[in-house]
Amino acid sequence: MTRHMAMAATVAMLWALALPAFAQATKGAQPKAAPAAASSAKVYAERYAALCAACHGADGRSEMQGVPSLAGQHSFYAITQLFLFREGRRANEAMTAVARTMKDEDLRGFSDFIATLPALAPAAAAAPPDAARMARGQALAQENRCVICHGADLSGGQQVPRIAHQREEYLALTLQEFRTGKRPGYTQAMGEAVGRMAPEDLDTLAYYVARLPTAPPRPGGK
C-alpha cells in the first residue's frame, strides 16, 4: 500500500529526527510522577510536536486523509488505541511502528497530552449541509443509541471517543470497518452497535457527525 508505506517512511524519519531531542528531554524527566508532572507534560508536548504533529496536526486537527484529528480526544480513549497499536491488534503499519517503541509511561504521557488539545470547531464548510441528510443522520444516531455512549453532543468521555466533527472520510471508514469486524475495538461495543446497520446508513452517520451543529466546543476531557 503506497500511502501506508509513505506514511510509515515519514513517521520513521520523524522518529529518527525526534530521538536526539527526546534523549535530551529525558535527562530531565524522572520516572516518579508527581513533582515532575509539569516537566513530563512539557516532554510529551515536545515529543508530540516532533513525532505526531506532521500527520495529526500541531493543534490536533488532521488535514490528511486516513488520519484522524485528535483535538479534544479523551486520554482514556487515546491510551486504549495506543495500546491496541502497540499490541499490533489494530492494523496500521505507521501507528504500530510508532507505538511499539512506547513504554507504559509513554502511553500515559502521550494520551494525557492529547487530552490537553482543545476540541476545535469544525472547519468552515463550502456549502451548508444537506438538511434532509442531516435529519436522517440525527434519526439514525438516536435509533442506534449512538448518543447513549457518545452523548447528545457526541463528545464522548472517558473510554468513549469524541466523534463530533471528526473527518468525515475517517468516520466513514471506521464505521464500515467496525461493521465488517476489520477494526477491532477495545471493547465489543462498536461491533455490536453497527454490526447490523446498512452501509449506506453508516455513510449518512459519518456525514452527520462530521457536520454536527453544536454550541461552542468544550475543552478536551479526562
Binding site: 491488534r89 502511553l107 472517558q158 477495545y186 465489543q188
Partner: protein
C-alpha cells in the same frame, strides 16, 4: 409489534406498569446492592457520567501502591491484602496440583498467566496472543483453556511453564462471535461444564446458544444442562446436593433498575431459565414475552441487583473462615456499565434448602465517587482456606483471610 387500539393499549400499559412496580418492590426488598443504589439518590450532575458504555479494563494495571486494597471493608475478623499486582486483565483463577495459580484474561490481555504461590508473584505469560482466553480449569495435570471458538488442553502444564507447547484441541466448534462468547469452565465427575451465551442483548437463541452444556473430556457426548441462560460467567456445584448453581446476567436497556441479575440452581434435567421470554422470574419480556407465562420457567433462587454483572462464584469448602461460611457461595458482582450509578462488591449467599438463597454483601469498597477502583471477577480458595479474588479492572489479585493468618 401489533398495534393496539387506544383504550386497550392504556389498560395494557397500566397492568404492565403495576406489575413492574410490584416486581421492582419485591426485587429490592429481597436484594439491595451494597453500594447506595441509583434509585435512592439523584443522578450525578456531570453529564459525562450518564454516557453509558462498557467499561473496559485499563490497558495498564494499577500500580501496587495505588490499589484500593486498604479501602476494602469486610466483616469483623477478616482481612484482605494484595496477593499479586501487575496482572493485566486478571479474570478466572484456577490452581494446579503443584500450587501454580493460573489466571485467564478477556478483552485486553489475550493471555493466560501462571503465578507461583511463593516468591515475588510476578505473572508469567504461558499462553499469548489468544483472543478470549477466558475459560480455564485444571484437572489431572492438565490446563484446560476455552476460547470463544475452541476448547484446548495443555498436558503436564506445571512442568512445562517455560514451554507449554501446542495444546491438544478437544473441541473446535464453539460458535465464536463477540457477544457473550467468553467461557467459564468447571470439571466434575470427568465431565467438562461450559456455557454459550446469547449472541445479542435480546434475541431468540438457537440450540447452540443461551445454554449451559457439558461434554466428556475428549469433546464427545455434548449434553444440554440448562436452557434460557442469557450469559453465565460463573457456576459451581453445591457440595451438599451436587446441584449446579450459576449466576446469569440479565438483559440491557429495559430500565436502570430492571431486570436483576439472577442466581439460579439446576435441580433437574431440561430446565429453562426464562431468557428471552421471562426475566428474573417475574417480568415477561416486552418483545418476546407475548403469549408466554413466567410460571413456565425456572425461578431464580435469588436476585443479585440490576446490571450487577454477577460473574465468578465458588462454594467455600475451606477450614479457615468461620463455620457459618462453609457451604456458602461467594459471588463476584463486577458492576454495571449500563447504569448511571455504579456498584460492585463480593457477595456471599447461602442455599436455603428450598431452592432459594439468602444473599448478603461480604466485601465492599470497589466503587468511590461513582468510579470503579476495582471490579471483582473470580475466586480461588487456597489449601490454607484463604481465598484469592481476581480484579480485571485494577489488574490485581487479592487474598482474603480470617483470624490473623
Amino acid at each position: 409489534m401489533a398495534r393496539l387500539r387506544p383504550h386497550s393499549m392504556s389498560a395494557v400499559l397500566a397492568t404492565l406498569a403495576t406489575s413492574l412496580l410490584l416486581a421492582a418492590g419485591a426485587a429490592w426488598a429481597q436484594q439491595p446492592p451494597t453500594e447506595e443504589p441509583g434509585w435512592a439518590k439523584g443522578r450525578p450532575k456531570n453529564d459525562a457520567a450518564t454516557r453509558l458504555a462498557p467499561v473496559p479494563s485499563f490497558p495498564i494495571p494499577t500500580a501496587a501502591d495505588q490499589l484500593p486494597t486498604a479501602r476494602f471493608k469486610l466483616p469483623p475478623g477478616f482481612k484482605v491484602e494484595t496477593w499479586a499486582s501487575g496482572v493485566l486483565d486478571a479474570r478466572s483463577l484456577r490452581q494446579g496440583a503443584k500450587g501454580t495459580v493460573f489466571v485467564s484474561t478477556l478483552f485486553v490481555g489475550n493471555k493466560v498467566y501462571a503465578i507461583a504461590e511463593k516468591g515475588d508473584r510476578k505473572p508469567k505469560t504461558i499462553v499469548d496472543k489468544t483472543e478470549f482466553a477466558t475459560g480455564i480449569e485444571f484437572h489431572k495435570g492438565a490446563l484446560y483453556l476455552a476460547t470463544h471458538k475452541q476448547i484446548q488442553r495443555y498436558d503436564g502444564i506445571e512442568d512445562k511453564l517455560d514451554n507449554p507447547g501446542q495444546p491438544a484441541v478437544i473441541y473446535d466448534k464453539l460458535p465464536g462471535g463477540q457477544d457473550h462468547s467468553w467461557r467459564y469452565l468447571r470439571i466434575r465427575d470427568e465431565k467438562l461444564y461450559y456455557a454459550v451465551g446469547a449472541p445479542c442483548n435480546l434475541c431468540e437463541p438457537d440450540d447452540a446458544h443461551a445454554r449451559i452444556f457439558r461434554m466428556n473430556l475428549d469433546g464427545s457426548g455434548i449434553e444440554t444442562i440448562a436452557r434460557g441462560v442469557r450469559n453465565t460467567v460463573g457456576f459451581d456445584f453445591d457440595p451438599k446436593t451436587g446441584n449446579l448453581w450459576f449466576t446469569d446476567n440479565g438483559r440491557d436497556w429495559l430500565s436502570e433498575d430492571l431486570p436483576n441479575d439472577e442466581l439460579n440452581v439446576v435441580t433437574k434435567a431440561d430446565q429453562h431459565f426464562g431468557y428471552p421470554y421471562c426475566h428474573q422470574g417475574n417480568i415477561l419480556d416486552s418483545e418476546f414475552g407475548w403469549g408466554k407465562s413466567c410460571a413456565d420457567y425456572a425461578e431464580p433462587a435469588a436476585l443479585l441487583g440490576p446490571h450487577a454483572a454477577a460473574l465468578g462464584m465458588t462454594f467455600y469448602q475451606g477450614k479457615m473462615f468461620p463455620a457459618k461460611y462453609r457451604g456458602a457461595m461467594f459471588i463476584a458482582r463486577h458492576g454495571p456499565w449500563n447504569r448511571t450509578t455504579r456498584y460492585a462488591d463480593i457477595a456471599v449467599a447461602w442455599p436455603d434448602g428450598k431452592g432459594g438463597a439468602k444473599v448478603e454483601p461480604f466485601m465492599t469498597g470497589f466503587v468511590d465517587n461513582n468510579t470503579y477502583l476495582g471490579r471483582p471477577v473470580d475466586f480461588l480458595v487456597l489449601k490454607d482456606g484463604s481465598m484469592l479474588v481476581s480484579d480485571d479492572h485494577a489488574g490485581a489479585i487479592y487474598r482474603i483471610s480470617y483470624g490473623g493468618k
